[in-house]
């Protein structure tokens, strides 16, 4: 059975990994899996994998939600709430402090240099995360073609992206993307 200290242990662990999750929360997922599945046995490997698949398709703060489901499993609603706070609390404090610092030195010469160097790399990373996502999502040439079409239409027009998501859901639901 799950002991009384389990929720606390989970919350502390999540607060710790969220503080070191450089490059986004998915980078520490293997560590969370070890803690939750192997070390403590709170859920099975399959359950953990299902949570991840679901988090990928749900709108909103999906990694926070995924951790909330883990918390739910351990301690119901309070566990879900505690896990959510542990996941976004520490990084948020850091974002705010960093933004304040960055803002204070606005216009400094070194900041212009850093920005000039940093911005193109980050843009490259954004495009890369799109292609990485496409690689997981597109299991057929139809799906790949639809991803390319979405990118092209979005670039060429100012069409609301919701229409493309809707079209994707429709085509997928009717089985045209398999």
């Amino acid at each position: 059975m799950i002991g009384t200290s389990a929720p606390l242990a989970l919350t502390m662990h999540l607060a710790w990994v969220s503080s070191i999750s450089f490059g986004g929360f998915p980078t520490v997922l293997p560590d969370v899996r070890n803690f939750v599945v192997s070390a403590n046995g709170w859920m099975t490997d399959q359950e953990f994998a299902n949570l991840f698949a679901m988090a990928q398709t749900i709108p909103g703060p999906n990694m926070i939600l995924m951790m909330s489901f883990v918390g739910w499993k351990v301690w119901g609603f309070p566990g879900a709430l505690a896990s959510a706070f542990a996941t976004f609390g520490p990084p948020c404090t850091m974002y705010f402090t960093a933004y304040r610092l960055w803002d204070r030195f606005r216009g400094a010469r070194w900041q212009r240099v850093v920005r000039l160097g940093l911005a193109p790399v980050v843009v490259g990373l954004v495009i890369a995360s799109g292609t990485v996502m496409a690689r997981t999502a597109d299991n057929s040439w139809q799906a790949a073609a639809f991803t390319i079409a979405t990118a092209a239409i979005t670039l060429a027009t100012r069409l609301n992206p919701l229409w493309m998501l809707l079209a994707g859901g429709l085509l997928g639901g009717l089985g045209f993307l398999e």
């Binding site: 679901m54 974002y95 960093a98 859901g169 993307l177």
Partner: protein, 192 residues
């Protein structure tokens, strides 16, 4: 809604409620890992004009270097820019509170029907277009850099290392970024 006067005192006029609803919309529209950035840019840059494309790139860069879900960093930074600490909290609450509640309820339902093929196909189709949207957003963000060859080179390098090299983001950030900043520094020193 907001009264923009000539002195640019947007901060004074902007309601916390406006920040809350804007980030609520961004949150609800962002399906699939990473695509929230698409909506953050569309709403905060294109529709509202709260931040310029340049500032938006700054914020993303800043967030990439921090731990945690980066998209939340956008909410915190844009909120902080518009209304300080209270603005950051308003944007964050907009981003989290309702989507989290809805997501938790939906998720508990979804886990029961996870094997429903039609549902899986619909979500798969949405992920397919979400990937395309993300690529388009990246290309849009690249446009301001298209006249500087070093920018294009480093963007291509970062892209390739992740896409083809399959290196972890962490490794790419801490190897390519110092190099890119070094080149920018040399350029700046020469221009002086």
């Amino acid at each position: 809604m907001t009264d923009l006067d000539q002195t640019g005192k947007v901060e004074q006029a902007l309601h916390l409620r406006t920040l809350f609803t804007a980030f609520l919309a961004i949150s609800l529209c962002g399906v699939g890992g990473g695509s929230g950035i698409v909506w953050a840019r569309r709403i905060a840059v294109e529709n509202r004009g709260w931040v310029t494309d340049g500032e938006f790139s700054d914020i993303i860069s800043l967030c990439q270097f921090m731990p945690g879900p980066n998209i939340i960093g956008i909410a915190v930074c844009v909120g902080a820019k518009m209304r300080g600490a209270i603005g950051a909290i308003a944007a964050l609450c907009g981003f989290l509170v309702i989507p989290w509640t809805v997501g938790l309820s939906l998720g508990l339902l979804y886990l029961q029907y996870a094997n429903l093929i039609a549902l899986r196909n619909i979500l798969g189709g949405i992920a397919t277009s979400a990937a395309g949207l993300l690529i388009a957003t990246g290309v849009r963000l690249l446009r301001p850099h298209r006249h500087r060859s070093a920018s294009l080179l480093f963007a291509a390098l970062a892209f390739s290392l992740i896409t083809f090299g399959k290196l972890p983001l962490f490794a790419v950030l801490f190897s390519v970024v110092p190099l890119s900043i070094l080149v920018a520094g040399i350029e700046a020193a020469r221009a002086r």
